[in-house]
Symmetry: C2
């Protein structure tokens, strides 16, 4: 564990109003941000190729792709994390993104038997067990039920799991990149269960995927009826194959492995099944040898995405945007505080964009950085009053056997050159 | 003009509550939706390949793409519409999408000199003219100002332009597909103008693109200071090249050609410039030979996206989801009504998902279709009380020389087989 106790002097505090006022003051602020007077830059008087020659026409790209200059903005896996890439994970490049929506092509992947490539015409969803009418739905059948659109984050239970043992991976893509947030379109699961008629003895639901791992989880019927969706679209278009095309379960606020992808079967029963993925995995071994189970909700969490180890401050002292993400499986985020000095002093960040229950929230702190080293931290509070803990508080409560549900405060050390590093303060 | 006056009997009215109750009634409803009892479908007992063999691992697709079974969901151009694809348009496949967010790869394109492929390191934005301090910004400079995230629709002024002459193109992708809606991240333009210091004589802004067409428009300074953004991200990632990478202007609610892409220059002046694209184009020639100009706002509008000519009802009578989009450059949508009988009777649609000013709104009407022919229409009302007009009302007011700003009510005729066609009722 690379402990670090020295506190930085940190950048001078500037409220948003103060920052903007300072920005208008003239010469000093201009010099600080590096902006040039209009007559000082040859790129203004030169005519570039893109101004001189016609570009591609509207028939060039039926499905558009990012600029070649964004080729570094990709999901990345860490080969040594797992034995084989078919039962593994890659990570959302959080440090390159902004706002609260994750583009479909950059949503992290986690699968247990590779990506099932399903022909929707041959896909069926069966509902059976303790129901009045066992049913089989084609995709077309599902499209005939009333639909809803909802924005939710999805976080893998193992997100930040390596951090239980201290700072390990150098970049928020790797420490926190098993989270994404999209708009889902789907049918409330309640409508399908009502169609089948759940018997009064039906208290649990088993959801099973059609992939080679037949990923399977037990879900209490109350949650299934409350807010789960059977979703077929994300961000407006069909689900991506790695996200469960043609249909997945959406289990708002709860750990990602319960959001069964390639959903083929829903069985109603009277007790939880105790399948492999809810016994040997996705339980939390405590110090006393007992395991916590049914730890479904993803608790309040946040991370600064820039500056961060993959996104250093490249422009030197002066105006600097600190930004990050916060989320909670229990509802909305009420507040995010940011510290520049490893938790000694905190100031409220600005949450910008829609604040939606169980969705990512984007926060900013605009500072005038004086070039001194910083120990950056963010700390989120949700609408239930839950506050993100220190990692050491988690370890004291749960021991050090855990992999899942690490929502501890993350620290980046930023040196005088703007280079950031994953560290831990105690 | 393919006029059509015969009114269908239309499907039996079912309120949402009534519809769901009916769905629970059992045998009749099940037969109507085509859902099979669980033991009747061989695809449930067979083991498909995707359940038998491992799929691709997490290292297969650093930037993900849609399923091969979605290859038909693409932007499409209409070659005969324009002389050359470098000054042309392609269309968003609205009939295949749901919710209010358009995926970046499917946002329609309109450019006047092809797509500029810009290296952001060599791009500059200059602010000059009637300002205290002419300035040049690098992309890094822009990233140092406070950012905001906002969801807006963007509609081309020429969207539905062919419909002035009666129903022409068979599909909402072509009649209404010059609209998209994404989350923008950017800097309020006001902050940049304040940095430069607009002189009291400065009343207009000229925005110019760095593409081969040097697309240029005049914008009143009040609008520039009110809610325009200098945006560098869409749906969380960098702008796509065809949408102005690395930086574009966002002019909420106003016609798309003013949202200058590849933004390289902002000049402050004391009157509008009268450039080519605001004289010979993007003005509205009236019957008396005079032209309307400065017709900036996109008025209240809606369209049913499914069923529609490219998205017929494929499942026969019974439960049917009617869905569409509504939007207004003046604010939120307050109400959408749907008619099944060419405007004789109207019923309120359900608006689902966030209702955001100057963003797309998604609406649904869930019906139990009896298989009789329908004349489907939608009619939106915005928060200012503006109601979408009939196309003939527009023609009566503006004559038939117009191309732009057709926000008339669209009609789809649906026959007993569920096949839809673009028609006009009068």
């Amino acid at each position: 564990m690379s402990g670090r106790n020295n506190k930085s002097k940190s950048g001078v505090d500037t409220s948003r109003r103060g920052f903007l006022t300072a920005g208008l003051a003239g010469g000093a602020a201009l010099a600080a941000t590096g902006m040039a007077r209009a007559n000082g830059d040859p790129l203004i008087t030169e005519i570039q190729d893109w101004n001189r020659y016609l570009g591609d026409g509207v028939d060039a790209a039926p499905y558009g792709m990012p600029s070649e200059f964004e080729a570094h903005v990709v999901r990345r896996d860490v080969p040594w994390l797992t034995a084989d890439p078919v039962s593994s994970v890659n990570f959302t490049p959080l440090h390159e993104l902004d706002g609260i929506i994750t583009p479909n092509g950059l949503c992290f992947e986690r699968h247990h038997g590779g990506v099932a490539e399903i022909d929707p015409a041959d896909h069926r969803l069966m509902i059976h067990g303790l129901v009045e009418r066992p049913l089989v739905f084609t995709m077309q059948d599902l499209m005939r039920f009333p639909r809803e659109n909802r924005i939710y984050f999805l976080e893998c239970a193992a997100n930040s799991g390596m951090e239980w043992r201290g700072s390990q991976l150098n970049g928020c893509q790797f420490t926190h990149g098993m989270v994404h947030c999209v708009v889902y379109t789907g049918v409330p699961l309640k409508y399908l269960l009502d169609e089948a008629g759940v018997k009064t003895s039906g208290k649990w639901l088993l959801a099973e995927g059609a992939d080679a791992a037949a990923m399977t989880r037990s879900i209490p019927i109350e949650k299934a009826l409350e807010d789960c969706l059977v979703a077929f679209k994300m961000n407006g278009e069909a689900l991506r194959p790695e996200q469960g095309y043609p249909v997945r379960l959406v289990v708002p606020g709860w750990e990602g492995n319960m959001w069964i992808k390639w959903l083929r079967r829903l069985e109603v029963g009277d007790e939880p099944w105790g399948q492999r993925e809810e016994t040997s995995k996705y339980t939390d071994l405590l110090a006393n040898g007992q395991a916590r189970r049914h730890t479904w909700a993803m608790e309040v969490k946040s991370v600064i995405t820039s500056p961060s180890p993959q996104a250093p401050i490249a422009h030197g002292p002066g105006r600097t945007v600190i930004t990050g993400l916060a989320w909670s499986g229990n509802g909305r985020i009420d507040r995010v505080d940011v510290s520049l000095d490893g938790g000694r002093n905190w100031r409220p960040a600005r949450i910008d964009g829609p604040s939606i229950s169980k969705a990512l929230h984007r926060f900013y702190l605009d500072i005038d950085w004086d070039g001194s080293e910083m120990l950056l931290q963010s700390r989120a509070m949700d609408e239930t009053g839950m506050i993100q803990p220190m990692k050491d508080e988690l370890r004291a409560a749960r021991g050090e056997n855990s992999i899942y549900h690490n929502n501890g405060i993350q620290t980046w050390h930023v040196n005088g050159d703007g280079v950031a590093e994953n560290v831990e303060v105690s």
